[in-house]
Subunit: 421 residues, 2 copies
């Protein structure tokens, strides 16, 4: 295969050799023949996860039985893992819990934020978000609006640039994804938070595509609430529990309506009246899925050994390389980049639109290059610096070019829609 | 050791030999030296769970990676497991999903039920429950009442017998645990549901201590909503996801405010407006913890091989034996039975109150007889016919008698409170 790019595979191999994160790949189980560009959807499996699960299931559950609530520290896992995750979010101890799903945690954040906003100014009835936000965020906002039935409305902007204009004296809360799931657009957290708060609204960030992917500084930005997931860049395993961060100034105010017993001040006193626990514990609700929750620690333990600045700079370099190679080698085939080029506006995935995007992605996956497809027409490639290298990017684009050149995506089996895309 | 009971260990050994469920014990990993009477808190580990976890983590996550959402059927797990669980609840296909926690599912059920009740008669503002209900149920009711801020109130009865009097023309919803977590009291589901519905209210059952423990017939009772957990008698593993059952007549009406993307009619179309899926799928919310969720199937697979009528009749026989032995052999030591004696009023655990209950339970656990303690003063013993036999009951009571006779609970280490009781 001849290369038409100004950068050769050889250059990539050399870049890998001096990559300070190169050794991290050994911590992950990547199947033979797979180039995995979907860690932004489901992170790869840390090698240690298998042993961790065997310990939780064999020793803690099997032998410890109910005693493990104390002896294995199950009950405190959401708080302990939250504290462990906190540095990756620019957060402090006692500010994060790992629990429930992102959707459920967003409901808690919205309910709290709306009640705090209403206490200050009940005339603020608007939740501002983005039409292109991850759908579950918008659906949950719709859910709470419909439940409350108090005249709240959801105002959706069409472009990131429309934000400040959309936030006004009627706005209670702004709810945005820090990194957009489709385009990879990255908001300037500090500036946006400040602009929102200056206009008298509260700021909720969804960090699903940020945690472990880009540098996050919730404390520096002095945001109000944040939620996010652990199964993408944090490699916690399929559907592993999500997290919620609450600024200390809001932890003991506002309504947290999913007030299950894990959030009670004295859960084992079995009192009939709810009294919220102090601090972040109030944001816990019911009993947590301990096996899935325990696996979150394996992913965090790997991530915390790396330097987040190294991860970010390699992520940007790999994504630049991906974009450059696609533009040089696949220029003839109609791929349109929808990810911002500017580093300060870009998360850790790269997306291209193509009218045949769905079939092209299926053809890629059949060749072992696993990215994913998002409506409408988006080919998404996640950049995960702990287990991807420069040569991987070169090889992935090489397969992409071959598929496009030979139109090998144009087969019936690549048109057939899967239930989950 | 001499026995003062009319029933000897020998009789128990003989009863075990002809027990039709005896072979099920081999399906569970019970540690050497443990008599496990806490399956009502955390069910024992099915042997198959270890292999199941290794498959989910190694093959499905590790090798399948993101492809497993389709290829391993992850996305449909909540519905598939719900259909599998349904027969144990007297429910049909498409009526149950296994998802989230009991607390979260109760919030969904309450929100739906209240909105349905309000559509019929907005003046009905009372939720009736029981002061002695499992606390999280009451806390969640408080949470939704406080969030809605529409004049709802929680009315708590002090005795099961007070129920019908408490339900009147002001009542929107009645929410009860079918089997009481403390006393083991069992409500007559069909009669209570009919009485509640005759008074114009909706009936929500919490089946946490019922599913897999007693015969349940939600369809026969024509109840409105039910929730419950899978980590007790269903042996799904620590904190494994809970379930929600919704009567078909309510599935497409009412508000389900935790409207995450898994409940959308077309979750992967990534539409910005929420459109609920048809039927029970509307009660899904966010992404589920696949490892913990997958393990639920191991417990169900064992349970479904047994006959629920055999389980129930052995449960009653073991509990009768436990009660009789305690009353005969421990009569001098002040244990007071708080579990109903009548079979039709009793679930699958037996509880005694004792002023030194906490220390006695710690002494029992130190001797390998694992029950648990619940405030105030309650020693709780779960009866799980799949892995407990008649001789186990005899041996457990023998240890209890010894501890009481020798006052060996009266030690500092047995007074020290654990974080989780």
């Amino acid at each position: 295969m001849t290369s038409t790019t100004t950068l050769s595979l050889d250059d990539c191999v050399k870049a890998d050799a001096v990559d300070p994160l190169r050794e991290f790949r050994r911590e992950f189980a990547i199947p033979e023949g797979v180039l995995y560009f979907d860690g932004n959807s489901l992170g790869a499996r840390p090698i240690a996860a298998q042993e961790c699960a065997a310990r939780v299931i064999g020793d803690e559950w099997g032998n410890g039985l109910v005693r493990s609530w104390n002896e294995a520290g199950w009950f405190d896992l959401p708080v302990r893992l939250g504290d462990k995750l906190a540095p990756l979010l620019g957060a402090g101890e006692g500010e994060v819990v790992v629990t429930d799903s992102t959707s459920i945690n967003l409901f808690k954040a919205l309910a709290s934020a709306l009640s705090i906003a209403a206490a200050q100014d009940p005339s603020r009835k608007v939740i501002v978000s983005e039409r292109d936000n991850f759908p579950t965020d918008l659906y949950i906002a719709e859910g709470i609006i419909s439940l409350l039935d108090q005249g709240y409305e959801l105002r959706l902007i069409d472009q990131p640039g429309d934000l400040t204009e959309a936030v006004g004296p009627d706005t209670a809360v702004v709810m945005l994804s820090h990194v957009n799931y489709r385009t990879g657009n990255l908001y300037a957290m500090t500036e946006v938070t400040a602009a929102v708060q200056e206009r008298g609204a509260l700021m909720i960030w969804d960090l699903a595509h940020s945690a472990g992917a880009v540098t996050v500084d919730l404390s520096g930005a002095d945001a109000d609430f944040a939620v996010g997931c652990t199964y993408k860049y944090l490699n916690g395993g399929p559907g592993s529990p999500a997290f919620i961060w609450v600024n200390r100034r809001h932890q003991n105010t506002g309504i947290q309506p999913l007030s299950g017993w894990w959030g009670h001040a004295r859960p084992f006193a079995m009192e009939s009246a709810y009294e919220p626990g102090a601090g972040i514990r109030r944001f816990l609700s019911g009993t947590q899925p301990i096996t899935s929750l325990s696996l979150v620690e394996c992913g965090l333990d790997v991530m915390l050994k790396a330097d987040m600045a190294d991860i970010r700079s390699k992520s940007l370099a790999l994504a630049d390389l991906f974009i450059n190679l696609v533009e040089e080698r696949c220029a003839a085939y109609g791929l349109e980049l929808i990810t911002p080029r500017a580093h300060e506006r870009r998360g850790s995935h790269v997306s291209f639109v193509h009218p045949e995007g769905y079939s092209i992605m299926k053809a890629l996956i059949a060749r072992g290059v696993i990215g994913d497809y998002r409506e409408p027409g988006v080919l998404r490639f996640g950049i995960t610096p702990l287990y991807l290298g420069y040569a991987d990017v070169w090889n992935a684009v090489d397969v992409l070019r071959d598929i496009l050149e030979n139109k090998s995506w144009d087969r019936p089996e690549f048109r057939e829609r899967d239930a989950v895309t």
